[in-house]
Amino acid sequence: MTLSLSGLTKEYDGKRALNSVTLDIPRGGFTGIIGRSGAGKSTLLRLINRLIEPTTGEINHDGIDVRALRGKALRAWRADAAMVFQQFNLVPRLDVLTNVLTGTLGRRPAFSSFLKWFSDEERRRAVALLERFDLGDTWAQAAGTLSGGQQQRVAIARAMMQSPRLILADEPIASLDVHNGKVVMDMLARICREDGMTIICNLHDLDAAMSYCDRLIGLAAGSVVFDGPPAAFDAAARRAVYGDET
């Protein structure tokens, strides 16, 4: 058992975005979070990373109370729970290599970071990640000049640079065409398989969720209404998650 959420609730001005979510997510799985727009998918991932604070509920990781973390320990947790965003969120004017190196910022001293003093070891790891995902040729290019698919792969390389325990991907392919979406999902699947990485991925493309995930969690209006393997996702489950939406 690595990540366990219990009774996780998030309210905005009294309105529940997430309603008492209780989940155990074991190490190494590829979990897809599905649901209609506004169901609370992004809220869930952001709570785990602690980009936002829950109203009530608990987050535990390997016996550590994540909600209690402060300062350096909180920053280390954020590095552990790497986020990947729909809009890639790279620094467009910085080169690809530096973008990947910013994945180390959660674990290194501010002063040497400020001066861009990355160690040779960190550079070697960053270049190795770029090479591994066929991005070696782009290392000196400004990230903003890459195609969307390339940018998302750089963003995932940056996430890997964090040496994370899990990757939280919020609609990683929603801004990409079908081909690039597949390339990015393949990359996540490969990391899951080869590195044993735990992946939690918000998807509104149900087909992608069905074919890549080993477990689906369906959210509707902030509550978990489905939890099981894709094979168990039948018509009734589909109605529970998506309602009457076609």
Binding site: L51, M83, V91, L97, G106, S113, V127, E131, A140
Partner: protein, 289 residues
């Protein structure tokens, strides 16, 4: 992994080149500062030496120029050179004023840039810090540099240091406010990613905001430098160093043709800086279009 080694080597070479550029830049700046200090000394000495010129007290403001001797040497009455007899010293003082502007702009951005992050409403560690910093920047900007220079001349003595500090204070406020606005308008996705990766506040600013606002900051700096050259020439009027101080000295000694000659140089300087700065900014924006 052979390709990896090649990338690492290329990247190391790129870093070496950038380091050299930085060192060269700082070297040039230090040289300017040293030069400004030397020139300031000699201008003060010359100011006192200037008293023997007192016999020219009632000379007319307009120089006597004659067309046949216009290009004659410094001893020929009616030549341009006779009018601008002290051109070497004046050009030196123009250089001092330019250096004063450079130093004031440098010091101003050194203080104003960090403050701009605290002032930006959406980046500041707290709304209170943002509010206080913005009021502070307003205050720095509102202080007229001539008045500040006058006070500093009394506190620190006659010379360029007072002028540099006075202009730097105003510059920090003006640049701080402008850059704060650029910071507020920078896209926030990259910063969100830095927070999510566990980066601290300073590194968030360094990696998510600075790279995105850098072109703005450079163009603000150039405009400010242009303004500051004019300010540095004028601020000498209250004894704060540079060519303006020489102008006031010539006026108070009644050397009206000298004063007029210096005024011509000041106007020429400001026009030249204006043109250079415009050309540079056009090239910069063109290069990014």
């Amino acid at each position: 992994m052979v390709a990896g080694a090649r990338i690492l080597a290329a990247e190391a070479a790129q870093r070496r080149r950038r380091l050299l550029l930085w060192i060269a830049g700082f070297g040039a700046l230090s040289l300017c500062i040293a030069l400004a200090a030397r020139l300031a000394d000699t201008s003060l000495a010359r100011l006192i030496d200037g008293f023997p010129h007192i016999e020219g007290f009632f000379a007319q403001a307009l120089p006597h120029l004659s067309s046949e001797h216009l290009l004659g040497d410094v001893r020929t009455q009616g030549s341009l050179h006779y009018w601008f007899y002290d051109i070497g010293k004046w050009l030196g003082l123009i250089a001092t004023s330019i250096n004063m502007a450079l130093m004031a702009t440098f010091l101003g951005v050194l203080a104003g840039w960090p403050l701009s992050f605290l002032a930006a409403r959406n980046l500041s560690p707290s709304p209170a810090v943002s509010l206080v910093t913005r009021r502070l920047l307003d205050l720095l900007r509102a202080l007229p540099d001539l008045v500040v220079a006058l006070v500093l001349v009394m506190a620190l003595g006659v010379g360029p240091l007072a002028g540099v500090l006075a202009i730097a204070i105003h510059t920090s406020g003006a640049l701080g406010k402008l850059i704060a606005e650029a910071n507020e308008n920078a896209p926030m996705q990259a910063r969100e990613a830095m927070i999510a990766a566990g980066a601290g506040w300073v590194t968030q600013m360094r990696f998510a905001i600075v790279p995105q606002t850098l072109p703005n900051v450079v163009s603000y700096l150039l405009i400010r430098l242009e303004i500051n050259v004019a300010a540095a020439a004028a601020i000498g009027f209250v004894g704060a160093g540079g060519i303006g101080q020489e102008f006031m000295a010539a006026l108070s000694l009644g050397l009206l043709p000298d004063a007029l000659a210096i005024l011509v140089l000041i106007v020429g300087l400001i026009m030249a800086i204006d043109m250079i700065s415009q050309a540079v900014r056009r090239r910069l924006s063109g290069a990014r279009a």
